[in-house]
Amino acid sequence: MQAYLVRRLFESALILLGITLVTFILLYLVPADPARQIAGRSATAETVQNIRDQLGLNDPFFIQYWRYLTALLQGDMGRSYLQRAEVSELIASRLPASLLLMLAAIVTELIFGLTIGIVAALRRNRPADHGLMIFSFVSISAPQFVIGILLLYVFAVKLGWFPIGGYGTFSHVVLPAITLGFLGAGWYSRMMRSSMIDVLGQDFVRTAQAKGLAKGRIILRHVIPNAILPIIAMIGIDIGLFMSGIVVVESVFGWPGIGQLAWQAIQRVDIPVIMGVTMVSATAIVLGNLLADFVAPMIDPRIKTK
């Protein structure tokens, strides 16, 4: 187990290193010149050149990359070209909002996904099951942008139950969390349904029925706990899904998280910020996968580490 842990950690570090290299190459190859973005349109060619020198943009690729990497290992992500602020501060000021949103979305998708999956499995092949599965299909396919605007319009503007975007109180988090969790709810309901059906067909369930246990007790005490385990193990992998979702959801609801930061940085070719957000989200995804690999065997001994 320990050797496995060490190997997985080493692999993860390697993956992150690879991500720094690939992102750096991509941003290096972008034809847009950040020095010109900073210099503005009234700048002379000398001013632009001067800025390139100051930022070290004239150095060969590997020198630039090495400088970035050594600084990164010391925890220095550089300063934003346009805001001139420390990238680490920009991210730190926005990370709590994104984490809160993700946590709320996980709770939402589990509540909705598991409930729907359980009901559908118990009513298998009946109208309720068909209806719920159509719903889950819609939630998987619907674009988050549309869902977000729709929820805003109905529940915030027409009914006035929630604020129209923004951040601060519990009521601010409800609609963005539902929008972000909607997709996951669809996935979880499908997985929970098939996992339940799996367990329902197993011998120990038949034995329990033969012993004369009440149906509700069998479902609650034996079927659901067994069916839920493989699903809980998936949450770590969800983080990757959320990382792409928050860019859209944060921009619809004006949620001050790192997705919004990333979107603005990309539009303005603010390379240090793009690199910073990419590294933070990549680290989150790698950690999520690690967690999934290690937590899964702990809560479900049937999954073996190798």
Binding site: R41, R84, I164
Partner: protein, 541 residues
Amino acid sequence: MKKLLLTGVAGLALTAHMASAQVNEDAPMGGTMVVTYKDDVATLDPAIGYDWQNWSMIKSLFDGLMGYEPGTTTLRNELASDVAISEDGTVYTFTLKDNIKFHNGREITASDVKYSLERVTNPETRSPGAGFFGMIDGFDIWNAGEGEGLSGIKVIDDKIVEITLSRPDATFGHVMALNFASIVPQEAVEASGEDFGREPVGSGAFKLTEWSPGQRVVFERFEEYHRENLPKLDQVTFEIGLEPTVALLRLQQGQADVPGDGIPPAQFLQVMNDPAQADNVIEGGQLHTGYITLNTQMAPFDNVAVRKAVNMAINKERIVRIINGRAVPANQPLPPSMPGYADDYEGYAFDPEAAREMLAEAGFADGFTTELYVMNVDPNPRIAQAIQQDLSEIGINAEIRSLAQANVIAAGGEADQAPMIWSGGMAWIADFPDPSNFYGPILGCAGAVQGGWNWSWYCNEELDARAAEADAMTGAENEDARIEAWKSIYLDVMEDAPWVPVFNEQRFTLTSDSIAGDDSLFVDPVHIPVNYDYIYSKDAE
């Protein structure tokens, strides 16, 4: 809908007359206003901020020596009480007003002026505005990172500063009214370092009291502001992170007063067709021209007949319809609200038949294939398709290259890459209301360099010489002759047809019922979207 249109010199003369009418002295003080924006504020450092969002915010936080009468393009003294210009137009002597203070309570002195101008031109500041100060004596040495400051700026005493120019320049007054020329306190800049843009200290009507990244920025009245009874509002809150569509919903619910990013294109007709909302829309001109550049150094656009033929082929009325009439068709580089605009010029009328003939005479009877670069954000690709269709009518097959903004700008800066560019989303909006601002970087030889903004790569040395001559005509008595000189320069540019001027965008500002002020304040040519200092709250009445 209320419409405000200032046309050329006549408009200017008119506004100079009405200048005092914009300021309602009796307007009540107090109340608040909420402005929404999608993007976070990049910076509030006046040496660095250079986008539409922070431009007018900085104007309310900082002051320069010069400024503009609210709602107009007329220069006025801001921190300066008096400006004396030497006979030859090269020495400006500014006297500061008495009792003017920074937000930190310290009095502003002449050495603050010297410090501020040296800071913005110091290469280590990396200011996008440094280039505007090229006429100040000693700029070239200082901006190259040598010497001890700008030799052209002399502090005479606490109140008087003398600025010597290396050449007479009629635009200097406007340059001193740019945000980049704002006066900043040295001690605050040094205490904050690179973070000055987040902790700005100026002398403007408002001071910054809260900045929550991605959420809100709050301005509050500066009690010791140097103008009496200003600002009108106690507080302006900028709510950040709201999509234009969401911002509109907030405004309709009475939770916002001005959508800073404007009316979203998709909802524009809906708003304008609803009388209650349309009544709160104020339309005004903008110092903007949208144009197609024709690369004069790439065949076949090196042939002036081809460029003229393209000018006649574009149906500008139809393009204006595509953007729901949010613009007026253009026929020359200058927009109608800019001094020097030629009212009587007819330009190249839309005539595909004549265009086809002209193209045939130039030896392209069968047309040719070329590329049209465009920024990939709506409505620009749709406009490019309309241009493509117009060109195909005269036999030109233009392939559309739809790219991110930075990539189009990069392509335009290469001599042999982009034969045609539709400027939408990147088009020229004047930095200051003077005709010279539409020439140098985008039509002059200086801009026709690698990485420049002259995407036509048009370089006419005779016109460059005339432009330099016009800008040397300083003094109020020469103003009319100078404007005439500029007018003829732009008309001669059109003879060479390096551009197809397509339209001038109009501004449509939507407001809530709870704020008010003269209409011109809501389409202020230098404060976009609105002039925060003079608007008042009806609730305060």
